[in-house]
Amino acid sequence: MNAATLYQSAVASLPEIVVITGACILLILGQLVRTRREDVLLWASVAVVATAALLTLMPAGEVRTAYAGMFVADSFSVFFKSIFYLTTLLTFLLSRRYADLEGIGSSEYYVLLLFTLSGMMIMASATDLLSIYVGLELTVLCTYVLTGFLRHERRSNEAALKYVILGAVSTGIFLYGVSLVYGLTGTTQLDAMAAAVAGDPRDPGLLLAVVFIVAGLVFKVGAVPFHMWVPDVYEGAPTTITAFMSVGPKAAGFAVILRVFLNPLVAGSDAWIVVAVIAVVTMALGSFVALVQDNFKRLLAYSSIAHAGFALFGIVAGGADGIASVMLYLLIYAFMNLGIFGIVIMMRNGAFSGEIIEDYAGFARSHAVLALLMLLYLFSLAGIPPTAGFFAKFYVLVALVERGFVVLAVIAVLLSAVAAYFYIRIVMLIYMREPTRAFEPALPPMVRATLAVTAAGTIGIGLFPAWFLQLAQNAVFGG
């Protein structure tokens, strides 16, 4: 690699470099900042993310490959990186007060989030199984630590340990699949793999390799049968981290799955059958188990499993519409899920944990606006128009039906009717029960801003989806 290509590679990956460098500087800066002055860290992190966002969005439209074909900056990755920036920024805004309350507001918290961000960005841009692996590990290693950040809570520790062990197993499975692919094709580059296999794409060995890789990736998005960690980790982790993980790393996992599935090698095989089965079972499990949850975070964990199942239907559909539908789904999911988590985080105040669903009874009586926001997020998660959640599901269904998977579409809608039950149960609690306690939600301006942004996204994309649809479609066709 000569200086010119190195320079080109560095330019193409400039946002990643900025984030990682920023994180390293913050690590040092964190030691110099006095306690009670953590605001500086927060705004410095925000500045890092904003710079990276600017560098990503400015040259958007051109495709630049880097590092000998292991990395690419294309419109597909720009779309996903935008989701990551949004998620990270909103998480920062939500974190400030919550972190103080829980005593986790040290510099490492922000630094680790930035490193996670860089991992996700690498995942979105990776075009080689090995660079995928690097991004994947960077992401999950940081989230392992963040999950266990509530050091004095058993729940948090347990969750982190569980996450590490299961995560390590899934990484092993993924790497095994990669090694099989390398043995069969002699390359780990996604584009080169297809070219290397001149013969039958349904070669059993190759199919096995694909199944291993898919299994490893399925763990990251929390789909069945690798979903077991999700409820425990979501419940045990600090709520801000749960909010972050349910959106960011999950979207990153989907980005990788899409990249792998865009590959003609996989698209030509019968791997979609595996994904279809996973999608149905994931959605069914998430929807049915969520019915009996009484902890809000666990409920949202199962809800996120169900949503992952629905998004997987878009991958089953495949094709340009299928891919665009998954991307749009993830963007919309980011808004509505961060919104509902914002509510849970806001409720954490004093002795009130805000984690027990029953505790929300009668919330609408005293806080009409916040209750209306909750109603909005919950109906959006349930997929009722005119919210964005409806359009997300609608587009996935369109993609499915266009590919002739009408039966899968019927299964998907019936399961989402089941899922609607537990969302509207919460609406019932907040609106139709008498309050049993006084509510004192913590509403600093930053949390207000987050709620405003997510609400605007949830209702705005629902009413005017055309522009966002265009973005997602351009990201697929243009990349």
Binding site: A364, F390, L397, V398, V401, A420, Y431, M432, A466
Partner: protein
């Protein structure tokens, strides 16, 4: 055509709902809501006065791009089939605001916002010329209705709200898949007129017919899927019941008229006997259930099932008289049953009981109330001179032409209607004064009269001179029959 009349009709209540959110005093909320519904009603009257009865084409049509990439447009229009319901919705909207004036004491603002949101969405359903827009309005209605039943309802309101929500959602979602299949076969557009024009193979028509049937049958409701209705009706506040009976139930029948018949003509003809059987079943079964009720609201709710059976019977008779009667009967049922629910609500506000056994001799206590109750009761049992007589006669004559046996069953249902309605009226209004209810009662006041009088006027107007109403529907129904028969005759 300068003014986008239909957009205004749909968006005025929506804008009104937003305005209400920032108001503070309950009084201001009530008056603003009333003003908004009156304005909407005035717009609807303006629309009807400019309505051309000689054409079946869509009138006042508007079209704005919405999601062009998927062939979705914000497209509105009315024809003879929808025009009456647009008007009915606006009329009942005003009645609802008046009916909730004092009946709703807590969270008045939230209630009126839900009511206006509901009205905007219902009008959207009837005006939509784009299937996506139709579906969005159709399903979004669940949110305000769920809140109206669940927050301001009676004792069992939470159960009723859940049942209503889940039944309707499950039905609608299959409809959604059907819509997407239609979209895919119809050249990637959601334009209702374009989708109507295409010719689908019979196999697909059959599947779609049943996918649509699930959604529409739940809404109508037809007999096997009617069980949400008594719960929802009984628990809902008065305004909720009026909306449910007056407008929501019409949407199922409207769906048949707008989608099933013209888009799936072969399947509609093929399965018409099945639909006639289900309708006749609903007429008789609903009537029998109503006969056994002691709760006033339940009685009216079950009578709705029976009466909506007449509507679907008329529609699937697939002849001119049946269809015209069915549509007119939809309008009549909205007026009459809306009024009956209003009356149950009025007396409940005074006595706090709905049990028929608790009442007696109301004629002596509240003569004006009872006289109007008599009018609407007689209208509900289709006495000549009232609106339902015209509609039911047309339906029966159409029904007999289509199928003798089901026509006969419908007549039996009409007899049952006379039995339970007269029985109810006799117990409530006549005889000695009941000791359970308060001895002194306030009769109808001016506000209540303002809600009752327009409904009473329509009962008599349609009953004595139905021509203008039939004229509105005539051209569109004839066109619809041509569509069904031209393509459906092959089967």
């Amino acid at each position: 055509m300068g003014l986008p009349l239909l957009s205004l009709i749909v968006l005025v209540p929506a804008a009104g709902a937003v305005v209400l959110m920032v108001l503070r005093s309950d009084g201001a909320v009530r008056w603003t809501a009333l003003a908004v519904t009156l304005l909407d009603l005035a717009l609807c009257i303006a629309m009807l006065s400019g309505f051309d009865t000689t054409t079946h084409a869509m009138q006042f049509a508007e079209k704005y791009p919405w999601v062009p990439a998927l062939g979705i447009a914000f497209s509105l229009g009315v024809d003879g089939i929808s025009a009456l319901f647009v008007f009915l919705t606006a009329l009942l909207g005003t009645v609802c605001v008046l009916a909730s004036w004092v009946a709703i004491e807590s969270r008045v603002k939230a209630f009126m916002v839900s009511l206006l949101a509901m009205q905007a969405l219902m009008l959207g359903v009837f005006c939509a010329l784009d299937l996506f827009l139709f579906y969005v309005c159709w399903e979004a209605m669940l949110i305000p209705m769920y809140l109206i039943i669940g927050i301001w309802g009676g004792e069992g309101r939470i159960y009723a709200a859940f049942k209503f929500f889940l039944y309707t959602l499950a039905g609608s979602l299959l409809f959604l898949v059907g819509v997407i299949v239609l979209y895919q076969h119809g050249g990637r557009t959601f334009d209702i007129l374009a989708l109507t024009a295409q010719d689908l193979p019979f196999g697909i028509q059959s599947w779609l017919f049943f996918a649509f049937l699930v959604a529409f049958a739940v809404k109508v409701p037809m007999v096997p899927v009617h069980t949400w209705l008594p719960d929802a009706h009984v628990q809902a506040p008065t305004a909720g019941s009026i909306i449910l009976a007056g407008v929501l139930l019409k949407m199922g029948a409207y769906g048949f008229l707008r989608f099933s018949l013209p888009m799936l003509p072969e399947a509609s003809v093929y399965y018409s006997t099945l639909m006639l059987a289900l309708s006749a079943l609903a007429i008789v079964y609903g009537g029998l259930l109503a006969l056994a009720q002691d709760d006033l609201k339940k009685l009216v709710a079950y009578s709705s099932i029976s009466h909506m059976g007449f509507v679907t019977l008329g529609i699937f008779a697939l002849n001119l008289r049946g269809l015209q009667g069915g549509i007119l009967q939809m309008f009549n049922h909205g007026v009459t049953t809306g009024a009956l629910f209003l009356f149950v609500g009025l007396i409940y506000e005074r006595t706090h009981t709905r049990s028929i056994a608790d009442y007696g001799g109301l004629m002596k206590l509240v003569p004006v109330y009872t006289s109007f109750l008599a009018l609407f009761t007689l209208s509900s049992m289709a006495l000549p001179g009232t609106n339902s007589f015209v509609g039911e006669l047309l339906v029966l004559s159409g029904g007999f032409a289509a199928n003798l046996a089901f026509g006969a069953m419908a007549v039996l249902g009409a007899l049952l209607g006379a039995a339970y309605l007269l029985g109810m009226y006799g117990k409530v209004a006549l005889g000695p004064v009941s000791l359970v209810t308060p001895y002194k009662m306030r009769d109808v006041n001016a506000r209540e009269m303002a809600a009752i009088l327009p409904l009473a006027a329509f009962v008599l107007w349609v009953g004595l001179y139905p021509k203008p109403f039939l004229a509105i529907t005539d051209a569109s129904v004839r066109h619809l029959l041509v569509q069904v028969n031209a393509e459906g005759a092959g089967r």
